[in-house]
């Protein structure tokens, strides 16, 4: 298997031999990136605290916990759910989320009859404000190539076996609209509050490769 398919971390350790790389010397990406940052700071093109703040934002503040709140709200508030399905980005902004890769977000509702799953075949487009940066598998060549031609096989790899009566809708994010799935509210979650419900909403369930957790699976 290529380093690509096992995530970037492993790739980092594979070192040089990069045909086509515009450098004279082969070097470990970690070292190369340090050199790049050092020069850009020195030349005043970037500030260290800007990079710090961006890293911190996408490591800590901007992630699937945001989308989970959106989903939980939609589960308890029918009027919000309607606004969310009608204009995702605006309804998401009501909860304070928005920004890069979130200008247009469309929310797709899973039902007993229709299961939605999101992919980006041409690159790795993803709704950053609600889900953060994509996980490695979403960026993998396997996920990008296979999801449009054999979604049921892909979902089975994620442990999700759908009945043949369910329509699988695959959304390929080729333009400026980003997609997020509104998973079905799990049975047994009646009477739970928004915060508790948000704990049931996983990243994978908002991409469409999994269902939301059932309460028994949480407690």
């Amino acid at each position: 298997m290529s380093s690509e398919s096992t995530g970037d971390a492993e790739h980092a350790s594979s070192g040089g031999h990069h045909a086509g790389h515009p450098t004279n010397q082969e070097s470990h990406p970690a070292l190369r990136v340090r050199a790049l940052e050092s020069l850009l700071v020195e030349k005043g093109l970037i500030a260290s605290d800007t990079v710090d703040a961006l890293v911190q934002a996408y490591e800590q503040d901007i992630g699937p916990m945001n989308g989970a709140q959106v989903v939980a709200r939609a589960w308890v508030d029918p009027a919000y759910r309607e606004r969310l399905l009608d204009n995702g980005a605006e309804a998401i902004a009501e909860l304070g989320y928005g920004g890069i890769e979130g200008s247009e977000i469309r929310v797709l509702e899973n039902t007993p009859e229709i299961h939605n799953v999101v992919v980006c075949t041409l690159c790795s487009c993803y709704p950053w404000p609600v889900l953060g940066l994509p996980p490695s598998w979403y960026k993998s060549h396997a996920y990008r190539s296979r999801t449009v031609i054999e979604p049921r096989a892909v979902l089975r790899e994620f442990g999700l076996e759908l009945d043949d009566s369910v329509e699988v809708r695959v959304w390929d994010s080729s333009a400026d609209v980003r997609y997020m799935v509104l998973p079905q509210r799990p049975a047994g979650s009646e009477g739970m509050g928004e915060a508790e419900l948000a704990d049931l909403v996983t990243r994978d369930s908002m991409i469409g490769v999994a269902l939301a957790r059932t309460p028994s699976g949480v407690r």
Partner: protein, 243 residues
């Protein structure tokens, strides 16, 4: 996002229409890798690279809208062999070299210096005002819809045929739908158009539609049961199908 300008000399014409990045429907990439390490950054350098990429964009050093096209100008074997953040590193280096912000010699020299002194403390530069302005954009929505002058040609339910386009240059029209029959599901509004345009000709905003395809139309007998596919398509990708 800003879509004017070029990425350090790497404009959309260097993107590849039928490139290896256009992998929808391809076979041979194996199982989906599920092991997860630390996400989203598996190593510190990935985070720094990502942060630099966004920081440079806010300075106008590159055009964020051209980043997809720039990646496509990578040699195919490298595109497949590189990891996600390595591709950004490649694109960023190219942009900085092309715009003259850096020379390859100084980058190589600095790399060698740091290699020799692994414990060297990085020089820092603080710019709280710029950081605050940039972080505002990270957290605040700016809609990408445009005001349209021309009325959309298609209506929901219209049967459309995707044009069989194969011109070199960047496009957002994946190969697996070209020539296929679909149906307009919804109008998304008027959006900037990102495809490569002939030099000097403007890329005017166009209506973008969500178009539904049945899996049988795309994949023939290989299609799975009850699958549909939705793709966002600019109006110029489509023509009304003879019914």
């Amino acid at each position: 996002m800003n879509t004017g300008g070029t990425l350090g000399g790497l404009d959309r014409r260097v993107g590849q229409m039928n490139g290896v990045h256009d992998m929808g429907g391809m076979h041979g990439f194996g199982a989906i890798p599920r092991e997860e390490g630390r996400e989203p950054f598996h190593a510190e350098w990935e985070g720094r690279m990502f942060g630099m990429l966004l920081a440079l964009g806010s300075h106008g050093v590159h055009d964020p809208g051209g980043l997809r096209a720039a990646q496509e100008s990578m040699e195919p074997a490298s595109y497949l062999g590189f990891g996600y953040f390595e591709r950004w590193m490649w694109v960023t280096e190219r942009a900085l070299l092309a715009k003259g912000y850096l020379t390859l010699e100084e980058l190589d020299q600095r790399t060698a210096e740091l290699d020799a002194r692994p414990d060297a403390v990085a020089q820092r530069r603080e710019d709280p005002a710029t950081t605050a302005r940039l972080m505002q954009g990270v957290h605040t929505r700016s809609p990408s819809s445009r005001e349209g002058s021309s009325a959309p040609r298609f209506r929901s339910g219209d049967s459309v045929r995707v044009r069989n386009r194969h011109s070199p240059g960047h496009t957002r029209l994946p190969r697996y739908v070209r020539g296929k029959l679909g149906a307009i599901a919804r109008l998304h509004g008027i959006h900037d158009f990102h495809d490569a345009a002939p030099e000097g000709s403007p890329n005017l905003p166009q209506p973008v539609y969500s178009v539904r395809f049945e899996a049988e139309e795309l994949w023939g007998e290989a299609a799975e049961a009850r699958q549909s596919l939705y793709l966002d398509m600019w109006e110029s990708y489509l023509e009304l199908a003879q019914s």
